[in-house]
């Protein structure tokens, strides 16, 4: 990481490159985007995450100019995009299906947008060559799209959308068709390209790991609304709602009633059980119904009772998922709640000790989990 942290969104003076102002999009009487407001800043790598049908593609298509908002407005560098047609926007899109022109060679595909700008031939040549080098496609420049592999096609699509050096590049599930290894490579390639070119990226993805890896900020959407917009660590460690907590990563949720006590809050979650002690940034009222969310890796599992821990729960191992580097234990507490705990497998053939049906103790610190009211 560089010394100055890149966080224009927390600078009140910074002007966003893109601004959604109360944008609503309806198809007939179906509301795809519902009163959405959002600012995306220059040089950001912004990820849109959400379940299928929540409106991610619709947002992209509005930015590219293929759909117009029913209500509200979208601004690019302070200018209302309004009814600016797609060919007049400094925005390029990399299509989910790549949409490469089948009758043109790789070179001609990349040059297509540049030729429309009526640049002179040498400038086009130089730019296409640069793009070919950036995406490592020099060897394939005279082939047609049907003569190259899926991963290469995807890079052609990327090169084509980057060639015009747009202010904003939209990537709709760009890596969906790739296998895991190529996908990870390409993710780093994307980040590299973004760093080199300084373009603002908006990426749609179904893969939360991908979003966490590449993005400067992540937006979690649900049914046309933004639920939370934050940096990957914030989204993971401080989810705003149980929906976000559940959507991103693995989490255990325990319902209970809050009893604030100064900095701390005690959560009564089951009859005859000691309350869970946690910290909360929001002020809670007594007896407010809350959810306590905790990530499995923050829960310590052991067969011995360790009285020094502030939160100590007892349960029975119901299931063990061995994932190689880690194991996840599903522990059923006495009231029936399921809590997940994770431990790292330090040693190869360690006697991991804990097996099915074992009585175990789960413990975690006061700051390990978050208290959610929604």
């Amino acid at each position: 990481m560089s010394q100055t942290v890149f966080a224009p969104w927390s600078d009140p003076g910074a002007k966003p490159l893109i601004e959604f102002r109360n944008v609503t999009k309806r198809f007939g009487d179906f509301t795809a985007i519902d009163g959405l407001s959002l600012g995306i800043y220059e040089k950001e790598f912004f990820a849109l995450l959400g379940p299928s049908g929540c409106g991610k593609t619709t947002m992209m298509r509005m930015l590219a100019g293929f759909e117009t908002p029913t209500e509200g407005s979208i601004l690019l560098s302070g200018q209302d995009l309004g009814r600016v047609p797609p060919n007049r926007r400094a925005v390029n899109m990399m299509f989910q299906s790549y949409a490469l022109f089948p009758h043109l060679s790789v070179w001609e595909n990349i040059a297509f947008g540049l030729k429309r700008e009526k640049q002179d031939k040498d400038a086009i040549d130089a730019r296409v060559t640069e793009m070919l080098r950036l995406t490592r496609l020099e060897k394939f420049k005279s082939r047609k799209p049907h003569q190259i592999s899926g991963g290469q096609r995807q890079r052609v699509a990327l090169a084509r959308s980057l060639a015009k050096a747009p202010k904003l590049l939209l990537l709709d599930e760009p890596l969906g068709a790739l296998d895991r290894k190529l996908r990870e490579e390409t993710q780093f390639e994307l980040m590299d390209i973004q760093e080199k070119t300084g373009t603002t990226f908006v990426i749609v993805t179904h893969d939360q790991e991908e979003a966490m890896t590449v993005a400067s900020r992540v937006a979690v959407m649900d049914e046309g609304r933004l639920v939370q917009v934050a940096t990957p660590p914030e989204i993971y460690e401080q989810p705003a709602t149980t929906y976000v907590a559940d959507f991103i990563g693995d989490v255990s949720l325990i319902a209970g009633r809050a009893k604030p006590a100064g900095e701390r809050v005690e959560i009564a979650w089951a009859e005859g059980q000691p309350p869970i002690v946690a910290t909360s940034e929001t002020s809670l009222s007594t007896d407010q119904s809350v959810h306590f969310a905790i990530r499995p890796e923050k829960v310590h599992i052991s067969k011995e009772r360790d009285e020094t821990r502030p939160n100590l729960l007892q349960g029975k191992v119901e299931d063990i998922a061995y994932l190689g580097n880690i194991s996840t234990y599903h522990v059923r507490l006495s009231d029936g709640t399921l809590l997940k705990a994770q431990s790292t497998n330090h040693r190869r053939l360690a006697n991991r000790g804990i097996t099915w049906e074992d009585e175990v103790y789960l413990s975690f610190t006061e700051t390990a989990g978050v208290v959610l009211t929604e």
């Binding site: 390029n92 949409a99 022109f101 297509f112 947008g113 003569q147 190259i148 959308s161």
Partner: protein, 271 residues
């Protein structure tokens, strides 16, 4: 290899005989020296010579060719536009009615099409001649073009056009640079279809033409009524030869293109 079967061999022979025997007889008799069509009088090419002297036949051939080229070209433009509107416009009120109306002339009896066009031309006081035949042929062959092109457009990925717009094309440029090259094979086969339909149309042409413009089918038909002449045989043989050459050339061209694509693909794998 499959085993030789008398049944298959017989079917094949009968089938081909059924298709080609009439034509073979026609070709043979076009070289008949005798004026009597059914009596063989020795080999001669005199009817070909006489045909080439016959102004009326040459005129008719020239009229037919012009009609076919103009009408199929106009029909291709209009039919392609109609196909685009039908496939792209999405749902609008009366869309089903419109698309039904475009395809209706396909099943309309030619006599009715011809008669209604004739009434129209008389009604608006248009002098009948080559122009009206071109109009009439455009009208009915346009539907065929539109059917061919719209079936290609139905599988055309609209994201390609969106990508073109996204990269800075206007609607018209996107069509010219992306859509048209991709659907070109369908447009060309639509044109060929319209061209052949116009070449061999007799009914509609006879309704809509005037004395100044006699097409070849009309000319042939009217001279047959005066008795079959060996000249007609010669003319038909020439037409058969032309069509055969055309079909072979077209299929060779297609094959050459397919071969080239395959060669490209193989070269691509090697590098």
């Amino acid at each position: 290899m499959r085993r030789f079967s008398w049944f298959n061999a017989t079917s094949l022979t009968l089938g081909f005989a059924f298709l080609y025997l009439p034509m073979i007889i026609l070709v043979i008799y076009s070289f008949n020296a005798s004026r009597l069509v059914t009596v063989w009088g020795g080999f001669s090419t005199r009817w070909y010579g006489e045909l080439l002297q016959d102004e009326a036949f040459l005129d008719a051939a020239w009229v037919t060719l012009r009609v076919a080229v103009f009408s199929s070209t106009i029909a291709t433009v209009l039919g392609t536009l109609a196909a685009i509107v039908m496939v792209r416009m999405g749902r609008f009120r009366g869309r089903t009615l419109f698309s039904g109306m475009i395809y209706a002339p396909l099943v309309m009896p030619e006599v009715i099409t011809g008669l209604s066009l004739l009434l129209l031309f008389i009604g608006i006081g248009l002098d009948r001649g080559i122009f009206t035949v071109v109009l009439a042929h455009t009208t009915f062959s346009m539907c065929y073009v539109s059917v061919v092109v719209s079936s290609r457009l139905a599988t055309f990925d609209t994201a390609l056009e969106e990508a073109a717009l996204d990269l800075g094309c206007t609607q018209a440029q996107a069509f010219r640079l992306v859509t048209l090259p991709i659907i070109a094979p369908a447009v060309i086969s639509g044109w060929l279809l319209a061209f052949t339909l116009s070449l061999d149309d007799l009914v509609i042409a006879s309704f809509t033409t005037g004395p100044s413009a006699t097409t070849l089918p009309i000319k042939i038909f009217s001279s047959i009524r005066l008795g079959v002449s060996p000249q007609i045989n010669a003319l038909s043989t020439i037409l058969i030869a032309l069509v055969t050459v055309g079909v072979i050339a077209a299929s060779l061209a297609t094959k050459r293109r397919a071969d080239a694509a395959e060669r490209d693909a193989r070269a691509a794998i090697r590098t």
